[in-house]
């Protein structure tokens, strides 16, 4: 767990960093919601809900701009160093990954609107549902690790990314089978193929956020530390 930080002597500086972290948490919540809503809309083929997700994305983009402005302003006026600098730099990174994750929710929604009807085996829906749950869990865990500056939890998130990849590969095979079975499935399956790809990307962004959390807490890059550990 993170070592507790003392407060800054300048309280307005302290407040600015607190607000920056709050904004990240808020944006994280918005994006988690967008992913869940988009996945539900896809599974239920709910075009209305999908449209809502597309609309919502504009707010997520606006949030990213706000966080970037806050961070740039802190850098310009406070010249943060050490843990403060890592806080500000990772806030920019995380906001960026969250914005891209939001784009993935939008992609899911866009595909959903294009799919007329879905008549696939329930097993398949279960697969997509499963993958959605997994990436949503990864995203939540990564955001938690960031908020609580928990390096061990961050490592854990990165270790689980393989599962997302494995699930993606398995769904890809399954879709391929449906297409071979009946060419009338091809159009929908292509849409779904892109959807699973989007979900897989969400997993990648969750990993990025976890890596940022690790760097925030330790000041070291997770990738380099892992390589060193393997060489030992």
């Amino acid at each position: 767990m993170a070592t507790a930080l003392n407060e800054h002597i300048v309280t307005s500086y302290e407040d600015e960093l607190i607000n920056l972290n709050k904004a990240i948490s808020e944006m994280g919540g918005m994006v988690e919601q967008a992913i869940t809503d988009a996945a539900n809309a896809l599974l239920k083929l709910d075009h209305k809900a999908a449209q809502d997700v597309r609309q919502y994305d504009k707010r997520i983009d606006g949030m990213k701009d706000r966080i970037t402005e806050m961070a740039v302003s802190i850098i310009a006026r406070r010249q943060p160093i050490a843990v403060d600098l890592r806080m500000v730099v990772t806030a920019i990174q995380v906001a960026n990954d969250l914005e891209r994750t939001g784009d993935m929710a939008k992609q899911l929604a866009k595909r959903t609107v294009q799919i007329e009807s879905l008549a696939l085996a329930p097993k398949f829906y279960n697969g997509v549902k499963h993958m959605t749950d997994l990436v949503a869990r990864q995203l939540k865990a990564a955001l938690d690790a960031y908020a609580s500056r928990d390096a061990a939890k961050a490592v854990d998130v990165c270790a689980h990314d393989d599962e997302v990849d494995a699930m993606h590969t398995s769904l890809f095979r399954e879709l391929l089978t449906y297409m071979m079975e009946d060419p009338r499935n091809i159009s929908q399956c292509i849409h779904l193929l892109f959807c699973t790809k989007s979900l897989e990307r969400v997993g990648d962004h969750a990993t990025n956020i976890a890596e940022a959390a690790y760097y925030l807490e330790t000041g070291r890059q997770l990738g380099q530390d892992e390589t060193q550990r393997q060489q030992l």
């Binding site: 003392n6 800054h8 002597i9 160093i81 000041g219």
Partner: protein
């Protein structure tokens, strides 16, 4: 701003050579071991041990009264001149004990020059300010040689262009930033190996500060520099190695980039980030 005016920035971009590997490869110029200082019955330094690398800038940071200036003064034996000050431990320059009784202190101070917080030119001409040291140490055999020393020192200190037509005017008539560069020229004139600077920019505006910082960056190619500064940003900008002092102890030392991105010690972190310690 640069692109609009076409001006070049005064300070250069961060030095890519100041990576951890590079710094550890540098030879050590000064070695301090278990250095203590007492002012009367009051102990100001509690056993400081540090290696100062050659041809690099080392900065000393820490809260007021932690002993930065005291330690800096140990390095050229300036504490000898302070009534009641007692120095213990060893400091070696190139392996040679600078507190060896047989050592000539005047000669030592020529090898280890010092620049102070407040520019302190002598009430003499610009020329004589720079010529003073070389004259005492008999470094020039002729007027031409002395001219050469004075001119090149002023050039190295980045002051030549501004004073070349007024060398006979009093040094005290220069601006604060120019006076500080004059003091640096004076320190350089005796060809020192080490230059100690105690808050050299604290009285200067950002441009004059940037000019001094650029100068320090150039000087480190040929000199070993130790700078005391209260500006975290300055320490981060100019030095390759940073040492953090607290209550007469050396708490943490290391590569400047490590200290300012990821200090290991909590006290260091609290101090440099402006937290309540």
């Amino acid at each position: 701003m640069d692109t609009l005016t076409g001006n070049t920035r005064v300070t250069q971009s961060p030095d890519v050579t100041s990576t951890p590997v590079e710094l550890s490869k540098r030879t050590t110029r000064l070695t301090a071991r278990d250095v203590t200082v007492h002012y009367g019955s009051k102990q100001a330094l509690h056993g400081i041990s540090i290696d100062i690398p050659d041809r690099a800038v080392t900065s000393f940071i820490g809260p007021s009264g932690c002993g930065k200036s005291t330690f800096l003064r140990c390095i050229n034996r300036m504490n000898d001149t302070i009534e009641g000050a007692k120095v213990g431990g060893t400091i070696k320059l190139d392996g040679e004990d600078i507190y060896d009784p047989s050592l000539d202190v005047v000669e030592l101070r020529a090898r280890i020059g010092m620049v102070f917080q407040k520019p302190n030119p002598f009430p003499k001409s610009i020329y004589d300010n720079v010529a003073y040291g070389p004259r005492i140490h008999g470094l020039a055999r002729s007027r031409a040689e002395m001219d050469e020393i004075v001119h090149s020192s002023l050039r190295k200190a980045g002051l030549w262009q501004e004073v070349k037509d007024r060398l006979a005017e009093p040094g005290t008539g220069l601006s604060g930033g120019q006076q500080q560069r004059l003091c640096i020229a004076r320190a350089i004139a005796v060809s020192p190996e080490v230059i100690l600077m105690d808050e050299p920019c604290s009285a200067l505006d950002p441009i004059a500060t940037a000019i001094i910082e650029e100068l320090i960056d150039e000087l480190r190619e040929n000199y070993t520099i130790v700078i005391v500064t209260h500006s975290m940003q300055q320490a981060a900008r100019v030095s390759q190695k940073t040492a953090f002092f607290h209550l007469g102890n050396l708490v943490e030392e290391g590569n400047t980039s490590d200290i300012f991105t990821n200090p290991r010690n909590k006290q260091t972190q609290d101090y440099i980030t402006g937290r309540i310690g």
